[in-house]
Structures are given as C-alpha cells and as structure tokens.
C-alpha cells in the first residue's frame, strides 16, 4: 500500500509530467486556454495512458522479452497506441456517444502526444510490474490534469494583462509556466517526508 502511495504522489506532484519532466508540452501550451477543454483533454489523456499501459506492458513482458526483441519497444508501442486510440474512438462512438462527444475530439490528437508514449516507455525503464505501471500511468495522467487546470487559471488572468508585443503569446506563456513549475519544485522531498522512504 505504501509503495502504491509513493508511486502515486511522486507521479502527480514531485515528478509532474508536464512541469518537471517536460512531457506533453504541446497540449499543455495549446489546450490550456479554456478550463473545460483543458479538463476534457486531460481526462482523455488519463484514459489513454491507463489503457496504453494495460496493453503495452503485457505485450512487452510476454511477447518482446521472451523473443529477445526488447529493442523494438519504441516501434511496437507507438503502433499499439495508434491502433488502440483508433479502436477506442470507434467503440466510444458506437456504444457511448455521450462520452465520445466530450472526449472524442481529443482522442486522435493523443496518438502523437509524447506523454503517452513516454509513460509506457518509462514504466518499462523503471522496471515496474503491471499494477505499479498502471498506478504510475494514472498518477502521471492526474498530474497532467492538475498542471492543465492550474495553468488554465493562470492563463485566464493573463488574457486581461497588458503584455509587451515581443512577449505576447507563447513567450509570456512559457515564463508563466516557469513560475508554476517553480512552485511545483516545492514538492521535492515530499515523498521522503511523508512516507519515510
């Protein structure tokens, strides 16, 4: 149980995917303008991350490793994720149209999101077992959600600010991201402090 909490808290706060690992920066900068789209995108990311891990980990463990094909993991994982996202979209469209309406637009974009491929590769690199990998993936997704929601708030304040022309748009957004990420650095050491590991 303690181990699970350690992985979860690390993934959400300490090693936040966006703010300290620099994964998924594109959607972080692109979709964080409005709160509802930020939440929709993040929920889709959590969902796909968990699903991708649930599929890629067993494939790695039971197909690639026994055949000595570990080096093919990048190519296999990206194909599996691309196919999976397509499949999920079709299934959702057919059976859960309401969910498809709210998450559907974000699904195709996630295929080329480095956070999803990143989490599946990191799980393998860290040597997590299936359960720990799933927890890590969900934690990473929740961390992404947290960063997106917080940052959407920061950006809505920036809309009304008067910004120098050269800094308008992406540059000031990056400076703001820098400050938010500075705040997240305050979490370093939290895991060791709480769980005494």
């Amino acid at each position: 149980m303690k181990e699970i909490m350690v992985i979860l808290v690390s993934a959400i706060l300490v090693d936040n995917f966006v703010l300290s690992k620099f994964l998924g920066i594109c959607p972080f900068l692109g979709v964080s303008k409005k709160l509802d789209s930020a939440v929709g995108m993040s929920l889709a990311v959590i969902f796909v991350m968990a699903l991708a891990t649930a599929v890629t980990w067993p494939i790695y463990d039971s197909v690639l490793v026994p055949n000595g094909l570990e080096y093919l993991n990048t190519i296999v994982f990206i194909l599996v994720i691309a196919a999976l996202v397509q499949l999920v979209e079709i299934v959702l469209k057919k059976y859960v149209p309401a969910l498809h309406r709210s998450l559907g637009v974000y699904l195709p974009l996630i295929t080329t999101n480095c956070a999803v491929l990143g989490v599946t590769l990191l799980n393998i690199e860290e040597g997590y077992n299936l359960a720990h990998s799933l927890i890590n993936s969900v934690g990473a997704g929740v961390g992404f959600l947290l960063a997106m929601v917080l940052f959407a708030g920061v950006r809505s304040r920036m809309e009304s600010a008067k910004i120098t022309k050269s800094f308008d748009g992406i540059p000031i957004t990056l400076i703001a991201a820098s400050i938010v990420s500075l705040a997240f650095m305050g979490f370093s050491g939290v895991v060791e402090g709480i769980f005494k590991v």
């Binding site: 999101n113 748009g169 990420s181």
Partner: protein, 226 residues
Amino acid sequence: MDKKRSKFSILTAGLIKENPVLVLLLGTCPTLAVTTMAINGLGMGMAAMVVLVCSNIVISLLKNIIPDKVRIPCYIVIIAGFVTIVQLVVKAYFPAIDKALGIFLPLIVVNCIILGRAEMFANKNSVVDSALDGVGMGLGFTFALLVMGGIRELIGSGSIFGIVITANVIDPMIIFLLAPGGFFVFGLVIALVNRVTSGKAVKRKTMGCEGCPSAAACGQAQKGEA
C-alpha cells in the same frame, strides 16, 4: 511549397526563417528537456537530424506507393524504424549522450517536426529536395537546441561544453538547469526571435499544421487560428 525554390533556399529555410523550434514552435518537449548542457542539445539535434533526413528520403521515395488514407501510420512506422536504429547506434557508441537524453531519444518518434515535414514536404517533393529539407530543418533544430543548451549551461553551471568559463567568478545559478529555468530561457529566446523578426516570420499556415494529426492539441496550430 513553391516549385521554383532553389536548392540553397530549401536548405537554409529551416535554419533561420522557418526554424522549427524558434519560429514554428515544434518539438518543444525535447527542446526544454535535454538542453541542460550544450553537448546534450547537440547530441539530440544530430540524432533528430539523422532520423529526419532518412525518413524524408524514404517517404519521398514511397510517396506514390503509400495509399493516402493510411499515410500517417505508414510515416510513423518509417520514422519509428529509423529512431530505433539511431537509438541502438547512440547506445553503442555514445553511452554518455544516451544516458543524458534518456527517454527523449525514443520519443523522437512523436516529435512533431519529423511527422510535420513528412506530411508537408517529403510527400510532395523530390528525393533530393526532401533530403536537403531534412538537413536544413535538422540544422535549425540543432541550432536552437545548442543556443538553449549554451545559455542554460553558461548560467546554470558556469561552463560551455564542459569548459569552465564563469564558474570561478560568479556562483552558477542551478535553477537554470532545472525545469523552471528551461521554460524561462525558452520564453526569453522566443521573445527575442519575435523581436528580431518582428512578425515577419513565416505564418504557421504555410507549415500546413492543419493537416497534422495533432493539430488541435498543439500550440502553434491554435495560435495560427487566432
């Protein structure tokens, strides 16, 4: 793309005018993550350039064979194949770079620059032009990473390429090596480029971002709409 463009202009476009990172804002994740040292930026840039040139050549060769409907998965397979090759080569011959780049080496697969160039340039142009475009864009990417890495290494550890410069004079500011410093330096560099080009840089539309599968999730496509 203009058919009459000279070979030289194709090569140099990516370097400054259409710099993929500083002007088009593609591939931001590796730009922020690996640029704690100039040498890492250089390594990442070279690795991406090799993949970019090879995938551009192959995609340009296969442009009449790949069916239009499944082109994106085909491109991804081709790109992933080259990334795996580069990964193995780097691991074998440059273990230090491999360690520094870590997860971002396999993540070249999902770097928007490479897929973007495949979609926008390689599947419309000749093999030679595509190769030149790959070299140009790759150099532009490397240049941007080198600038970022140089600035962060100089301020964050007082050296460039491991050669001590200011570390004995001024205490290095470690924060520039950490995540906040990455965002901060990148913001400043882009602001500087905005200032220098003063809005004259290419519009995102010409990059054809709307054709990209990740267009709606990606910062620059949205900015192009606004």
